[in-house]
Symmetry: D2
Subunit: 334 residues, 4 copies
Amino acid sequence: MTVRIGVIGVGMIGQDHIRRLTQVLAGSDVVAVADTDAARARDVAGGLAGATAYATGEELVAAPEVDAVLVCSWGPSHEQYVTAAIRAGKWVFCEKPLATTEQACLNILDAEVSHGKRLVQVGFMRRYDPAYRALKASIDGGEIGAPLIFHSGHRNASVPSHYTADMAIVDTAVHDIDVARWLLDDEVVETMVVTPRKSGRGGPLQDPLLIMLRMRGGAIVNIETSVNIAYGYDIRGEVVGETGTVELAESATVLVKRQGVVNARVPEDWRERFIRAYDIELQDWVDNCRRGTCGGPSSWDGYAATVVTDAGLAAAKSGGWAPATLRDKPMIYG
Amino acid sequence: MTVRIGVIGVGMIGQDHIRRLTQVLAGSDVVAVADTDAARARDVAGGLAGATAYATGEELVAAPEVDAVLVCSWGPSHEQYVTAAIRAGKWVFCEKPLATTEQACLNILDAEVSHGKRLVQVGFMRRYDPAYRALKASIDGGEIGAPLIFHSGHRNASVPSHYTADMAIVDTAVHDIDVARWLLDDEVVETMVVTPRKSGRGGPLQDPLLIMLRMRGGAIVNIETSVNIAYGYDIRGEVVGETGTVELAESATVLVKRQGVVNARVPEDWRERFIRAYDIELQDWVDNCRRGTCGGPSSWDGYAATVVTDAGLAAAKSGGWAPATLRDKPMIYG
Amino acid sequence: MTVRIGVIGVGMIGQDHIRRLTQVLAGSDVVAVADTDAARARDVAGGLAGATAYATGEELVAAPEVDAVLVCSWGPSHEQYVTAAIRAGKWVFCEKPLATTEQACLNILDAEVSHGKRLVQVGFMRRYDPAYRALKASIDGGEIGAPLIFHSGHRNASVPSHYTADMAIVDTAVHDIDVARWLLDDEVVETMVVTPRKSGRGGPLQDPLLIMLRMRGGAIVNIETSVNIAYGYDIRGEVVGETGTVELAESATVLVKRQGVVNARVPEDWRERFIRAYDIELQDWVDNCRRGTCGGPSSWDGYAATVVTDAGLAAAKSGGWAPATLRDKPMIYG
Amino acid sequence: MTVRIGVIGVGMIGQDHIRRLTQVLAGSDVVAVADTDAARARDVAGGLAGATAYATGEELVAAPEVDAVLVCSWGPSHEQYVTAAIRAGKWVFCEKPLATTEQACLNILDAEVSHGKRLVQVGFMRRYDPAYRALKASIDGGEIGAPLIFHSGHRNASVPSHYTADMAIVDTAVHDIDVARWLLDDEVVETMVVTPRKSGRGGPLQDPLLIMLRMRGGAIVNIETSVNIAYGYDIRGEVVGETGTVELAESATVLVKRQGVVNARVPEDWRERFIRAYDIELQDWVDNCRRGTCGGPSSWDGYAATVVTDAGLAAAKSGGWAPATLRDKPMIYG
């Protein structure tokens, strides 16, 4: 059985997912697209054999040939498309963020809970990265004892000039926050932001940041975001347990010796570092659709991430600890 | 366009490729299977929607719905199926070895040359391994100067009791031989085999071996095969150039610190180490079939590998250097 | 010229320095010892050709055959011996801490300033560790741009049962504090302590700790102390600059592959990790004495470390940032 | 007790050992020097408090104030000075080679055997390198099972224009040969030399070389010498055992991330790589002299190295295996 997928939002990310579904992964057809830019939707549909361009995301969701919906539109529009898909009882993969406000996330949770079972997967692709999976396997396998601290480093070579310190929390650290919740299997209860001297490379941008999360069970997550660090895209992670540690290894596949040093490549950007994670993530979603199930990061995970990044913004303003308060977890999220 | 593939030989490797084509990769359908065990062919076909089980490989090759043929049968049968596919003008992917004798390889070359263009890709998957590709990119990019020596290490945790010292050359070192030819872009002119003291773990088996190849351009390839080394499956490679070196890095994705050491996993077997290479290899073949082209390791590469392993067997017997003599390279192989 | 050294305090550390001076390093004689345990002083002197056991540290300092004094006594007694040596105009090497209270440190500074030039070196041996020196050389050489964050990790396999959370700051993190001041060439202005969930391995001990320092120039130092972590003695350090980073490499000299992993030894304790640093440190002091100069960490460094650890204790109590306020730096400290 | 040392040959190496003895190590005085260049001997003696310049090495050996002799003169003169020291019953440390011909080595063995116990240590400093010691400890500790192959790589950034292919065996690979005998605790029975294409960086010099040694117990040593490789001084070593391997790790103490790569320094030359080995080696000799014993590499080791390098020269000429035949090992060599 082939899953027939409709894609809402066919900008850069949407088109990349279409490429992935049609040229890299098994088991799906892209049968429908929609975009607020109707011409772009028609162009993209034209490049796909037998795909229809719909005028709106809602029409795409309603189309009978669409089994599952991939939401890649602008963040503020996620709520309307995801809830529409839930009401139609269709599988939906929503790129992060699930929604841009806590209330919008709660509305999605309510819709899914009303439906009675999970339909939504959120695009936190790091959970599919082989290195992070090995990290989690070591923790879960008891190799390091109970985890106490998670050091996470998120470094970009550069960011565009419109990037703000808020984005360092909401767009950048959100990945570290999600992966922390997943690795430690725990929720964040409060957060604090410490601001080192600004890098001279980012103009007025407050960069880097140190973001601390206290988990319900007491573990501390210690996140560094450095988004203009020039040398490359470097994702670091080390979990300190009671009897040992586990950390992400360097990702280079070869070592070159020349001119007085041995060197190994650092990835240039997130595409290079996480391309496999995106592939595995979406294949997993397609496979689940084919099996009639839903897995991976849930709406709950998307909601929790938003609550924590909101707390991070408050903490950055106050300079002290800011609480992250979650509603009770509905049964369907385990 | 979807490539319609027929698979000849549906034992372990054939079934694994069918899983790959249907569950992992994009762009193909498996529409036909054949096997000397007719019941197995029917079973496998039964698990695939709309696939036919043919009585013989030749019938499968002739079937009009088959665009391309994947040969996974017993080595001695490769020649007949590959030449049948060539005569039918169909794309063919042949698992290594291309054929088990030099003459059989030459017969395939003759058939393909008569056809007038390449149709055959041989399953030397290491050329698709991301680490080997980075090794080659460093060499080709001039990072280490002209290559002079290639140290290659091929280590298996264990081999079955029927494994012989000949197999260390023909089945094991053949991968190092192919990758040496590809990395150095050169042919082997002679080979020598040096035998260290036998490992106590292999019974009567002469293991390890040191196999040296002298390339036409004068570079030396220095291969170690250790096929009962217990600790894991470990593929090593370092190319020594005039001004630098490049080597395969360790492949582990995480480092664990516990009990007095920092440790990193060594792959357990070739599946773990090269699963991605197999996926990329076969996707490349499928993509080429869709584009109407043929790439990757050719019949010539399969032929050359056989000539060199034959020379290796002669060298192991004589204790001295044994020549590897190739016919002139037909134009279609570049 | 040979430096004639008197050692005050001949417990474990004092005896180890005597071994170092007499069996490892060049250029000195140990001619005098003193200890509150007179019998121990006599025993140790008896094992050294021509050494005298003095009844008190003050008598040792006054002895005409003593060129330079090595203070290895109990911390609270450091002030009296160091000031006595300064008044006598003799070179003095004082094991850390310089003194156990800020006032005692100030008294030493006053004495040295009155003398008019540096006489005191404090035993912060990490500044002599080849790895830390390479770290500093990279920063000072501009390889990573201006430093913004220093991540420091200080891990012990275990500590004795009398070890307290205060000691994690005063005895353990004090090394990270000194090395941070030295690497960043800056002073600490405030500090904060974050407490993760307690490790189950340390009984009532609050372990691990995260200690943050804000430097005058705005850089943040992010220290983890984990003093019961079982797996070994592991000193980590990474400086994040505007355009790059530099970090301590693993210290193992060989890699072993066995039983499915490649492993490298982690040091067992501080002796294994820093034995060379101690040797180089003391040779440097001896060499300086021979040349009639004084170098290395100064009384000012010892004083600043005490002010910062006091601030750390206050921060641990308050949960917020605590200021570290230094007096004006006297000219003799550069 | 202080060992009073006389140094024969005060060129670059002799002066470096004098610096070591007087400024780095404990327990010795340099009391006498001799050199064929009498003015140089007087100059060097003048810089040492109370040292005498002797007209000949023989006079130095005979001087009553000389307890032990350090031979750093030209290789062909080693025999005469070492045998003189043996006849005088004095400890002697002889830089490598022990002597430049097999016969000269045999004469030294005969003299020492006549004396009845070991007096001579030969300057194979690698045995004192902490990394090689860890390698040997892993092997001897049974971590990798019985050793079968030793891969050794000896790379220099460059060599002077008078350097010859013979020197690659006699001066360069001799270190790998000695360390192989020591690591494997076995003697070489035959050797072969394989010549890759010449590097363009060495003019007429045949570089690199692959030198194979077959040990009495059957293990094979696989040595690469690359002496004009530009990128640095790089000593590699991996021992392949029946169940595992152990290899020298990279020696850098820090990792720098900048400009798209993580890099680690490769040593510039043998001084940088082995300075500690030289220090430890000579301290061990001094300590042994103080204790009245003799350890480290013996005259037998110096003799065996010369026999093997002679075999290597023969093998390079013949292209085949050349035997290395040793006399029976006298009892005093264990």
